[in-house]
């Protein structure tokens, strides 16, 4: 299963699930629920942690890309001779070389309606976005490789470009990217019931509408993408890669290289941020492996920052017209949305299908009888789109939460009151929306009230607040986030001395799994946390898993390792029963000691000294791998669980912010930002809070600074951090947080994901606040000084 795909699978009956586990955390000594500091931080912060680029197998050589200088062009000729003639250059390759090799050389098929070719690792006869890989050069060191790449001479015949998805799909003059998609439409999708929605609109007192753009973004992970390809004729490929999903990469690499999965081992060491773009498979990874086979040496590729920005992939880029059917009493009757979503120059696996699913969250927190969403995923001569923290969720919630403010304005109702009147009631769960999502649990009003109270919503001053000439506004955004879904592997292996090795198929790139999983397993086994080690990121060592994306790891990975720990403990209990000569039902266990229950009410120090009646976890571990095991017990003490979550757990909350807008310059200051998030039980509140902070920072980045810009020729104008506005620490307000806890009935731990909450809630909260301050209907993101100033100017002209 690929990225973000799992988010909204079918419904599950919560009554089937045992909720008892949820309440076990009452134990005050438990690690679970405590703000255990992240165990990985010492290595990460001191620089000891090893990332892909830190690894240098003996003999490693380096790969650099020649990238398209045009947004759209036919390739006339590629002359690599000058590069090849340079000292220390081992080879230069183009599509012709890939085509002549045993490897198909195309990334995973995009799975679109239209039968278009998948992204080739190197351009075939045409380039469809600025920065598309055209050739590679391999040299003894990375600098030489980049110099040699610059010496490759490529002749282009430029074609007309089209960068806006709506134009690409609707303008008959727009250039066509693929023969098989004459209108540039890659896929269309429909969610909800069109007729029912039309009826709801006809019956409602009024309709409000909005046209909005969800701006195109770039994943600015600290660590650019990197890969090291190694090839052994007997053992196949080993690819060290910056992956969010090592097993996913194994499958994708096998596909691109034309080998079996068993011939590819994927290793992912520390990964410095992913945000979705390290979940998709990239030409650089495939070409590092391909060149390693060609040259019989390890080949390393590390993207430059600009390389990452040119083809990272990008995220979002929607144009939407949305309408709300609403009665005068504030009852929302229906919602419909029509969206043009950019796919980019090629469909990238699940990234290309994100627009198909995005509408599933359009119901947000509200009981809306009829929703209809029609989406066209459109090819444009731009970098391919893939999941970016939220992956469709922020796009959907932004539409609904903006529409509600527009409707409130139209009705003369307080936007909070309008929200309150339409919230799904806590009794209605599981709640099935008209667009195919089933919300597992929720209690929306308390979270909203907490945020409102914290921000002083009822006491807020109107328009002009403090006497500094600036306009004040308050913005509220409610959200739901579909999290988890699919299966995940978790292996718990007790070593002979009682240490515990935990392996999971997820892969942490900032989420803190080493700490979270250790907390969970330490509690499940009642062992000290420092006896637990967590490992991820090696397909040779870890049972096939799914990976980390879509806020899923704690739900599926966490439950997988806990279930494995429970199985391990059950077996340990059986061994202890044999040792102590009683039935295993009579064995009690506490804090690492098995005892015959009844002999002691609780296991005390004295009881432990009574050797015949108690046995330690370490002794059981030793026995499990020793000689004296009874015949009916298999040696070893480990268990693997493939935990499967049917459906998704729906995190929710309310974010509120206060802005001050300078009416003369359009300058926006976020004076307050308050987030109340409910992600069910919190295994580690500190890490949850960190996820909220990071997500809000990125959400504010989208709302205020970040905008990918192409010129009309398809040239990327924001190729560096000098021109692409990632917010810095000083640009952000102090982010205040609070929580409510509504456990998920779908999993034993009662947890929900939190990774994307901030990127979902912050954009509408900030835009709603600025619109409130200016008393305007809408202004598109990012809220640069200029965009806001223009909104003010337009308003003054009216």
């Amino acid at each position: 299963m690929s990225d973000a795909e799992s988010a909204d699978a079918g419904a599950a009956d919560p009554s089937e699930h045992d909720q008892e586990a949820v309440d076990e955390d009452a134990d005050t000594d438990a690690y679970t629920g405590s703000g255990e500091k992240r165990r990985e931080d010492a290595a990460l912060l001191s620089g000891r942690a090893e990332y892909t680029d830190d690894r240098e197998p003996p003999g490693t050589v380096h790969l650099a890309f020649v990238r398209s200088e045009h947004g759209h062009a036919d390739l006339e000729e590629i002359d690599t001779s000058a590069a090849e003639a340079m000292d220390d250059v081992l080879g230069a390759y183009t599509w012709a070389d890939v085509e002549a090799s045993p490897s198909p050389g195309r990334l995973q098929p995009p799975g679109l309606d239209r039968d278009v070719p998948a992204h080739p690792v190197l351009a075939t006869d045409r380039v469809r976005y600025h920065g598309q890989p055209v050739a590679v050069v391999v040299a003894e060191d990375r600098y030489r490789a980049r110099d040699a790449a610059a010496a490759v001479d490529v002749e282009y015949d430029p074609l007309e470009a089209v960068v806006d998805p709506e134009t690409a799909a609707t303008d008959s003059e727009a250039p066509r990217l693929f023969e098989a998609a004459p209108d540039n439409i890659a896929t269309t999708a429909e969610l909800g019931d069109r007729d029912a929605t039309e009826e709801a609109f006809a019956a409602a007192d009024r309709t409000v509408s909005i046209d909005l753009e969800n701006n195109r973004l770039i994943s600015s992970a600290l660590e650019p993408r990197a890969a090291i390809g190694e090839f052994d004729p007997d053992e196949g490929f080993t690819v060290t890669v910056t992956s969010q999903s090592p097993h996913g990469h194994r499958r994708k690499l096998a596909h691109t290289l034309g080998v079996r999965e068993g011939e590819v081992r994927v290793v992912s060491p520390r990964v410095g941020g992913g945000f979705g773009h390290k979940g998709h498979h990239h030409p650089g990874e495939a070409m590092a492996a391909w060149c390693a086979r060609e040259l019989e040496v390890p080949v390393k590729w590390t993207a430059t920052r600009s390389g990452n920005y040119l083809e990272g992939a990008h995220g979002r880029d929607h144009r939407t017209t949305a309408e709300l059917a609403i009665d005068d009493d504030g009852t929302i009757r229906g919602l419909r949305a029509e969206t043009y979503a950019s796919v980019g120059g090629y469909g990238l696996g699940s990234g290309a299908r994100m627009p198909v699913r995005y509408g599933r969250l359009l119901s947000s927190q509200y009981a809306i009888d009829a929703i209809h969403c029609e989406t066209r995923a459109v090819f444009t001569t731009t970098a391919p789109i893939h999941s970016y923290r939220g992956a469709g969720r922020p796009e959907a919630i932004y539409v609904t939460e903006r529409l509600i403010d527009v409707a409130a304005d139209e009705l003369g109702l307080d936007p909070v009151e309008l929200r309150r009147r339409n919230l799904i009631s806590p009794e209605a769960f599981p709640y099935e929306t008209p667009v195919g999502a089933t919300y597992d649990s929720g209690d929306y009003e308390p979270a909203m009230d907490k945020a409102l109270e914290a921000i002083g919503y009822d006491e807020r001053t109107d328009a002009t607040g403090a006497d500094d000439g600036r306009l004040r506004g308050v913005g509220i955004a409610n959200y739901v986030e579909s999290t988890g879904g699919g299966f995940e592997s978790g292996l718990v292996r007790v070593l002979p001395d009682g240490d515990v090795a935990v392996y999971a198929g997820t892969h942490s790139h900032g989420q803190g799994h080493e700490t979270t999983y250790a907390q969970l397993v330490a509690d499940a086994l009642e062992r000290p946390i420092d006896r637990i080690q967590v490992s991820e990121g090696d397909t040779a060592a870890i049972p096939t898993g799914t990976g980390t994306f879509g806020s899923r790891s704690t739900i599926v990975g966490g439950n997988a390792v806990v279930e494995s720990a429970e199985k391990v403990l059950a077996k340990a209990r059986r061994i202890a029963a044999t040792e102590l000569g009683v039935d295993s039902a009579q064995i009690g266990y506490e804090d690492g000691t098995f005892a015959v229950s009844g002999a002691n009410d609780s296991v005390s120090a004295e009881a432990v000294s009574g050797a015949d009646e108690t046995v330690s976890f370490e002794d059981i571990a030793d026995t499990a791998y020793g000689w004296g095991l009874p015949d009916d017990l298999e040696p070893g003490l480990e268990s693997t669980t493939f935990y499967d979550l049917d459906g998704a757990a729906y995190t929710f909350g309310t974010h509120a912010c206060v802005v001050a807008v300078d009416p003369d310059t359009g300058d926006v200051e976020l004076e307050r930002y308050f987030a109340v998030d409910d992600c069910g039980e919190r295994v580690n509140p500190l890490i949850v809070e960190g996820q909220v902070h990071g997500g809000v920072a990125q959400g504010i980045g989208q709302a205020r600074y970040e905008q990918v810009a192409y010129d009309d020729d398809g040239t990327l104008l924001t190729e560096t951090m000098d021109s692409y506005g990632v917010p810095r620490a000083a640009d952000l307000p102090s982010i205040e947080t609070d929580s409510t806890v509504t456990p998920s009935p779908l999993n034993e731990l009662g947890v929900k994901g939190i990774g994307e909450a901030g990127t979902i809630a912050a954009p509408p909260a900030v835009v709603n606040a600025v619109c409130d301050a200016l008393d305007i209907t809408h202004v598109d993101m990012p809220l640069t000084e200029e965009h806001v100033w223009r909104a003010i100017s337009d308003q003054n002209e009216e």
Binding site: D147, D664, T665, D667, M721, D722, S723, E785, E786
Partner: protein, 371 residues
């Protein structure tokens, strides 16, 4: 990419540096490195030789003379801020020292004569950049969005340039010839920036030090200044920056210097604004409206062909908000004068929203170290 290979020379004197520049093919100067090093990294500079002048004693230091303060070209921003704000003996002997709340009390010579220049210096980059970058390098780079050029313009500063034929002095206005282009030749070196001391407002500088009884060079007019900037959210440079110097005579703006950066290919004087400001009485009712009216035509001072913008802030936007930033800078400048600080009937600076409320957390360009 490999940076192109080059010979590295550390010059031991300006004259040696000059002969190295003349002798070596494609030689370039290195001081703070903030312009050269990024260009080397991205392949936009391929010098044959680099002549390092960053540690030449003759180029470093702040020399407070009787008529002018001369800042050595290789003086770092940090050094200028350190020495340029030393109040020295001005504390004891200042005639204005007695009155509580007097804004000029304890001000250093440069703070009194060129406050905007110090404020602009303070606004440059961050602490690390100010510890490394140089005043001469800043002006020679002629970055359109850099902070110092506008401030140098309102200070009536000039740039000393030495070549094989000797030294010449060029007014900043002539020195800045275009975006990233200045009057310094390939085989020349900027040696210093000369900031004349204010002495009357007839355009002449260099009053009689003897008359003041010392070389502390207090202005003979009520002089104030400010630098206000909207920081560009991506580059950290000025999206719009405005430097102002005003001289107040008997409550009336006797002379004004106003310059902007960020809006055009070079920093430039806004002469129609200057003219409109002159004659405004800052001590009577309605001064706010008078200032607002005076700055209105600022865009007209920015020639269309030179206007500058980017993805984040277009030229149209920058020029449109220019009057606002000019107004704020003027208000701050007037407030920094004795007349303006009296808190008269209509203190000009009271209702201006904070400029630069976002980037770098620096909301108050008017005083103190940035937070």
């Amino acid at each position: 990419m490999f940076p192109p290979s080059f010979d590295y020379h550390r010059a031991s004197s300006v004259s040696e540096a000059l002969s190295l520049l003349a002798e070596l093919p494609d030689a370039t100067l290195l001081a703070g490195g903030h312009a050269l090093l990024p260009r080397l990294k991205n392949g936009r500079a391929e010098p044959g030789a680099v002549v390092d002048v960053s540690e030449l004693p003759e180029l470093i230091g702040v020399d407070v003379g009787s008529e002018a303060t001369v800042v050595g070209a290789a003086t770092t921003y940090a050094t200028l801020l350190e020495t340029g704000t030393e109040a020295g003996d001005a504390d004891e002997e200042s005639d204005a020292g007695g009155s509580v709340g007097d804004p000029t009390a304890g001000r250093s010579v440069l703070e009194q004569h060129a406050p905007a220049f110090l404020e602009a210096t303070r606004a440059v980059g961050d602490r690390q950049i100010r510890n490394r970058g140089t005043v001469g390098g800043n002006l020679a780079e002629a970055h359109p969005e850099s902070d110092l050029p506008a401030a140098a313009l309102v200070a009536d500063a000039s740039v000393r340039i030495r070549g094989s034929g000797g030294e010449r002095e060029v007014a900043v206005e002539e020195f800045l010839t275009g975006a990233f282009e200045s009057a310094v030749g390939d085989d020349e070196i900027v040696t210093a920036v000369r900031i004349p001391h204010v002495d009357g407002w007839d355009g002449s500088n260099g009053g009689d030090a003897e008359e003041n009884g010392s070389d502390r060079n207090e202005p003979t007019v009520d002089n104030g200044g400010a630098y206000v900037r909207k920081t560009h959210p991506t580059s950290g440079y000025a999206m719009v920056g405005v430097a102002v110097r005003v001289g107040i005579d008997d409550g009336v703006i006797a002379s004004a210097r106003v310059a902007a950066n960020g809006v055009a290919d070079t920093a430039l004087r806004l002469s129609s604004v200057e003219t409109a400001l002159e004659g405004i009485d800052v001590t009577t009712e309605g001064v706010g409206e008078r200032v607002t009216a005076a700055v209105e035509n600022a865009p007209a001072d920015v020639p269309e062909a030179t206007r500058r913008g980017d993805v984040h802030a277009s030229a149209e936007y920058r020029v449109s908000v220019l009057p606002t930033y000019v107004e704020r800078a003027v208000r701050a400048a007037v407030d920094s004068t004795e007349a303006g600080s009296d808190g008269g009937p209509d203190s000009v600076g009271d209702s201006a929203p904070d400029s630069d409320s976002g980037r770098n957390g620096r909301r108050d360009q008017q005083g103190g170290e940035p937070r």
